[in-house]
């Protein structure tokens, strides 16, 4: 049994967000981090590894420096890494990305008792599309918004956290789950883990390595194969200061109710 975790290196938006004159993100000038939801996916995988001793493989698509992120995940406890990286893959939108990552997962191989984990969404694009699209491309059942995962043999019980409540779903392996931050608290790298990280296997999958997969087609990968075009991106104007009402008397309550009613909130 193995768990394949798909991860993405994203700009650290807790620092300054830099935007190029053409409206795209200036990624080169920003610090990078592992996408926060993906960290929850990695932690979920490592927890299952702690219980079952299964293998955890981390996969990312990105430029060569993304290998550093994979090493950090290995220092947390992942066993193996795959960096999917090639000029031909550059500029991919979620559709193209999921084709390529799915091909990479095919290359690694999905067996009957395997699980694929993704973060719910990345903090740069916020689409939440890549995980579900990978599942579609691989013809695997998928469960999104996992807030709790329990494994019992080949059955995974997932508690999904939705806007208005929870939904519990049972799914058979192999399957793909997308994880949310409520699932767990990601562990730190350990000192011993850091010293082991660089001796663990890290494979680069380039265009040559994946080109024979039916999913890899020049018309469906990279910038050319991406149906999405970003016209512009901008920093939204800051919201104004909120209004504070003080007091616990009837008049204040009526005033509050009046404001909410005027805005059609109640």
């Amino acid at each position: 049994m193995k768990i394949i975790v798909c991860v993405k290196q994203v700009p650290d938006t807790s620092g300054k967000v830099a935007v190029n004159p053409d409206g795209t993100l200036n990624r080169a000038s920003m610090q990078t981090i592992t996408n926060p939801d993906d960290m929850n996916a990695v932690e979920a995988a490592l927890k299952i590894k702690d219980e079952t001793g299964c293998k955890v493989i981390v996969v990312t698509m990105g430029p060569p420096p993304a290998a550093g992120m994979l090493r950090e995940l290995m220092a947390m406890g992942a066993d193996e890494g795959y960096l999917v990286s090639a000029r031909e893959f550059g500029g991919s939108d979620t559709y193209a990305t999921s084709q390529i990552v799915a091909a990479a997962v095919n290359k690694i191989g999905v067996e009957k008792d395997d699980i694929i984990l993704c973060g719910r969404q990345a903090i740069d694009g916020d689409t939440a599309q890549v995980g579900p699209q990978i599942a579609e491309k691989l013809h695997l059942p998928q469960v999104t918004y996992a807030a709790d995962i329990k494994k019992d043999g080949d059955t995974i019980t997932v508690k999904r956290m939705l806007e208005d409540g929870y939904m519990t779903i049972k799914v058979k392996t192999p399957c793909l789950l997308t994880c949310i931050k409520e699932l767990n608290e990601p562990r730190y790298m350990s000192v011993g883990g850091v010293f082991e990280a660089y001796s663990k296997p890290l494979t680069t999958l380039d265009y040559e390595a994946l080109k024979d997969d039916p999913l890899i087609d020049a018309t469906t990968i990279g910038l050319k194969g991406s149906p999405t075009n970003i016209l512009t991106s901008f920093t939204p104007p800051q919201k104004g200061a909120g209004m504070m009402l003080e007091g616990n008397d009837m008049a204040t309550c009526e005033k509050l109710a009046g404001i909410l009613a005027k805005k059609h909130i109640i």
Partner: protein, 380 residues
């Protein structure tokens, strides 16, 4: 000396910083205020391998190097001097002498629990009448059959109240002076051993400091560390290594104060300008950072030399002397830049200033470091 950090060291620094920021910093003020030992932090550090960084995996260590250990103490000290010294005293003063001078049996018995952080270590050399003059040991150890009987007391023992395993020094032959001192591994449950009351201190107030009392304390013969009469040498070698840890603590304290001062002076407005716009502030911070950068070179250099098994005694003394004095100066200047707010407990710089002072005193005062350095220079 090449200070290009390895990939592993860069990754560790990031990990230490994350850990310090998220787990250590939020407790720093509270443990100082309440004089509370942060056992919960020690348990977390133990899980991550931070209590045995530079020891081999075969004994339960993390398989790292001395510089990675110094960087850990440095990063912890940037936010909490107390947490930094807990790691430093445990690692340098208890784990190191057992690893470096212990028999294979002693190493197998004591190191796995110490290096995994299941047990905490401490070091007992200082006595009421034997501080800088460590050779004036009054604690005695008399061999009686299959055990030694220890009598006497130790004071100012870091980690004293919380430790399980102690490396302790006692006179086995009073007439022989330094050559009559021997080292022992003492467990807290040995009959006749007890820990005294918590010492109230100016700084590092969350760290445990107490007396150790030996009243006909029975220590098995096999717990003699090194040979009889070689204790003074073991103590001095241990303190050489310990100085790298304390120098790293001082380094972190100074760097932490610089970070706080930069942040504060960019926000605080007086006379219609941010403090950071005044040239006095800019010059002060330039000097403070330069001093800490110089300290970092000395600390890292000493750590690298120890790792390479080169003679690092003078390097460790210079690192501790310079880093400790720089830390005291820089933290004091940080308080000054904060003005009245710096003097209050609302901001961390006054704590850093209190914490920094001890680095000029313990594990050899600055005066002792000057003695060590000048003796290496052959100046008599």
């Amino acid at each position: 000396m090449d200070f290009h950090l390895t990939n592993e060291q860069l990754m560790l620094r990031k990990m230490y910083r994350d850990f310090a920021e998220n787990e250590v910093k939020p407790l720093a003020e509270e443990i100082d205020e309440e004089e509370r030992f942060p056992m919960e932090t020690v348990e977390k550090m133990a899980k991550l391998g931070m209590m045995g960084i530079y020891f081999p995996k075969e004994y339960g260590g993390a398989g790292g190097d001395v510089l990675s250990y110094a960087m850990c103490v440095e990063e912890l000290a940037k936010v909490c001097g107390t947490t930094a010294v807990i790691v430093s005293a445990h690692t340098s003063l208890c784990c190191a002498p057992i690893f470096e001078h212990g028999t294979e049996e002693q190493k197998r018995k004591y190191l796995p629990d110490l290096l995994s952080g299941k047990k905490i270590g401490a070091f007992g050399l200082t006595e009421p009448g034997a501080g800088t003059d460590a050779s004036g040991q009054q604690t005695t150890a008399v061999l009686e059959g299959d055990h030694y009987v220890l009598n006497g007391s130790k004071c100012f023992i870091t980690n004293g109240n919380v430790a399980d395993t102690f490396v302790v020094f006692a006179m086995t032959d009073k007439k022989a002076g330094n050559h009559g001192i021997s080292a022992f591994i003492v467990e807290k449950d040995f009959p006749g051993f007890s820990q005294g009351k918590h010492e109230k201190k100016m700084g590092i107030r969350g760290s445990s400091t107490c007396d150790l009392i030996f009243e006909d304390c029975i220590v098995p013969k096999e717990n003699l560390l090194g040979k009889e009469g070689k204790g003074f040498k073991i103590a001095m070698m241990t303190l050489d290594g310990g100085r790298i840890g304390i120098a790293a603590q001082a380094l972190g304290l100074g760097e932490g104060a610089v970070n706080e001062a930069i942040k504060y002076t960019k926000e605080r407005v007086q006379f219609g300008k941010r403090l950071s716009q005044f040239q006095n502030t800019q010059f002060q911070l330039a000097d403070m950072h330069t001093r800490m950068q110089a300290a970092q070179f000395l600390v890292y250099s000493a750590a690298c030399k120890k790792q390479l098994h080169e003679d690092y005694s003078m390097d460790a003394a210079m690192a501790k002397l310079f880093a400790a004095e720089a830390a005291s100066d820089v933290t004091r200047r940080a308080v000054q830049l904060f003005g009245g707010y710096g003097y209050t407990r609302e901001y961390p710089v006054e704590r850093m200033m209190r914490d920094a002072k001890i680095t000029e005193i313990y594990e050899g005062t600055s005066e002792v470091q000057r003695m060590v350095i000048s003796s290496h220079l052959g100046v008599k």
